[in-house]
Symmetry: C2
Subunit: 441 residues, 2 copies
């Protein structure tokens, strides 16, 4: 075995846990070592990226049987990762009704409810009795439907009338009709709802599956909890990467092509760099002041980075709170007043530390000159202003971006830091000119 | 109605979707407007924080009946948020067996499998027939067990032997015994496994529930998908807040006490500030150089922030990849070589832009002096070094922290930026002294 990761344990459990840690070649070797049953088990449980990897290596003659192992939504995911030519070739392995279904699923974006759902769910008619329904579900459990634990009651036009859980069927009087016992207060998701909103609906309720409908309440499919778990992880990864100041990679770190990754990072890094150039412009306005009082230059990195750090805290907090639905656009004023107080307190704390640091530093007089007290005061007061400004800018920017219809996560920590750096310099030199005019400047 | 958020729609669906957007007072008013049945429905579906809010307001005489509505794991969550005195008082409302169960659940940390699990699950004996099992589960569906869709097969010592889904029972021959049809290749989680690892197991498999066992495979309870969804959201929130350079808040932004929030932010901000103070120390070493060539000071914010931004990208990428299990400790060398190439490319891109910016800027000669070309070269070469260093430091720090047994997410964007700022200054002034010695310096 090439890898010690698996400790020679080829159980499905162990393979799934370590599959993504292996190299492409290791995965191929291990897959070949497995018996057909184990291969199938593994294939069924892997994510669509790894399914594609395996599927590509399988000889054409066997492709049909491997493809037909999968449920229609999984086939759609698999095909979505191929180019158009391959999609057409592989589509031919499907039987006609499945092909129609897969095509319909592929018409949805991958991050919409329609793209996540499975169209094989358990259906009941309102006029059935409980007894008939249980017998019917029992028979349906043989087919490839995703879950029989929730059954959806549809009229002749496929409009969703209600839902019953198998558990409720077990408890109900066998002679009653489905329409008498079904729940009509149904939680649904719309077919074009995005994954962020679907995962919110899921975490607000305790259902194992949710029905997907169109505007006319026509039932399209179901989404189960495990689909949502994947989506939530993906969403969080995207947000975290954007917050780190880059485009979302969309692929695992060790899998992504190095050039593609550099491109995704270079874009934002260049934009931030060009934004940060304004610091050089701002600084050149104060060249005279720096020449007169070099001591001022010493504290520039300290002062402006504090603005960046406090802005990074504020923007991160608000972006996450927005993603979780804790903070909405209309809350901007409540956020503003909280951040005003927070920024002021944090600024005073840092200002005080800065003041003490300069005043108590050994040989501060030789280092910072005879007017060291005024320098200390300049640093302390600028810190209050800059931290307050950083906090307010960082917390309000996500509101502004969302209001403009943009993704608030664009307002990353580095983005806010860059914004605050330029204004921080202006605040610092303005405060300096107030305290030191006629003395050092 | 005080709030337009609800649009006078008091359906459970609408209440749950907007509950956290309301103020405490609004929630209280609305709760009182509901009938008892709707109140109970709402109470059962809210998270434990909001359950506690409601429970606190309920008159003592009614507390018993409200408490008994909840399943033992939910009672444990509710009690966990009270102080010890209140816990004792409220524990008295429970019947004796439930109290024992709740106490056992509370002994686990909230983020361990034991703290998330429900101990009321469906149990079967291996010697039962399929027919008996279905009848038995049908009867059990009346009790408060979390799901009847998976049944766990235990021996007399509560050791887990296998699992059968209700679906499999439906398909099986009614006369067979459970031991003949049960799955023995069981995916389990250990009772002290943490939530990060549990959610990984969940997203690697397609199960709606997982059994929790101890070292001896004695079954302790089950965890369902909706518990995991909450946990994944919480984990991501914690990581995101740490990445933003603060302690995780642990409460929704608009709910948390302002003073508590300031404390959680001030800690890291102060630590970063004290770290950043070394920039002032470093700068004071170069005071002579700055006095001789003020033009060098102009580019300090630009140069060091580029190191911070590239470090922020790298650290964010690696921390997330570690959280998702895509990158492990043993991968450090693969990551190092990727980041070496990425850092070098990104450094060259920014260096080139910096060079062009200075050379093509209108009146660069008056702004940057006659040696503007050497200044431009200094900026460009330092950028290559600093971006490379930022990238490597940012990507290796999470490995170092994890190796030390610390949380890699501690290595936040602001933390890396601070680290890189000090070393960035040293790189910048070293490069400057090479290019400008005897000319400007």
């Amino acid at each position: 075995m090439e890898t010690n990761l698996l400790n020679d344990d080829l159980s499905l459990e162990n393979l799934l846990a370590h599959w993504q840690g292996l190299t492409h070649a290791e995965r191929e070797t291990i897959f070949k070592m497995l018996g057909r049953m184990d291969q199938e088990e593994l294939f069924l449980n892997l994510s669509s990226d790894y399914q594609l990897e395996i599927f590509t290596e399988i000889p054409s003659a066997e492709k049909r049987s491997w493809m037909r192992l999968l449920a229609p939504d999984d086939i759609a995911d698999l095909l979505q990762n191929m180019d158009e030519e391959e999609q057409k070739t592989n589509m031919r392995y499907l039987d006609y009704p499945t092909m129609i279904e897969v095509k319909a699923l592929m018409a949805y974006a991958e991050d919409e409810a329609g793209g996540l759902m499975n169209s094989r769910f358990a259906r009941l008619r309102p006029e059935m009795t409980v007894e008939e329904a249980i017998r019917y579900l029992r028979a349906q459990s043989k087919s490839q439907i995703e879950t029989i634990y929730y059954a959806y009651v549809l009229d002749r036009n496929q409009v969703l009338l209600g839902v019953v859980s198998l558990r409720e069927l077990f408890l109900a009087d066998a002679k009653k009709t489905i329409s008498e016992i079904m729940n009509t207060d149904i939680v649904t998701v719309l077919q074009d709802e995005d994954q962020e909103s679907i995962s919110k609906t899921f975490s607000n309720h305790n259902f194992l599956a949710l029905p997907v409908v169109d505007d006319g309440l026509v039932m399209k499919g179901i989404i189960t909890g495990d689909d949502v778990i994947e989506v939530i992880e993906e969403e969080a990864t995207e947000d975290i990467q954007k917050l780190g100041g880059m485009e979302a990679l969309g692929e695992p770190y060790l899998e992504i092509n190095l050039l593609t990754m550099i491109k995704k990072r270079a874009g934002w890094l260049m934009a931030l760099f060009i934004g940060e150039m304004f610091t050089a412009t701002a600084m050149s306005h104060y060249e005279g002041e720096i020449a007169k009082a070099v001591v001022l230059a010493l504290f520039i990195p300290l002062v402006i980075s504090s603005g960046g750090n406090s802005g990074s805290q504020a923007t991160t907090l608000i972006i996450r709170a927005m993603a979780l639905g804790e903070v909405r656009l209309k809350d901007w004023w409540r956020v503003f007043s909280r951040e005003l107080l927070a920024g002021l307190s944090l600024g005073c704390i840092l200002g005080l530390i800065g003041l003490i640091r300069i005043l108590l530093w050994p040989n501060h007089q030789t280092l910072y000159g005879e007017h060291y007290f005024l320098v200390a005061l300049t640093v302390a007061c600028s810190l209050i202003g800059i931290v307050l400004w950083g906090t307010l800018a960082g917390s309000m920017l996500p509101f502004f971006l969302r209001r403009m219809g943009l993704d608030p996560a664009t307002s990353s920590a580095p983005f806010v830091a860059t914004l605050v750096d330029v204004t921080g310099l202006i605040i610092y030199f303005t405060v300096a000119s107030i305290f030191l005019k006629g003395i050092l400047l």
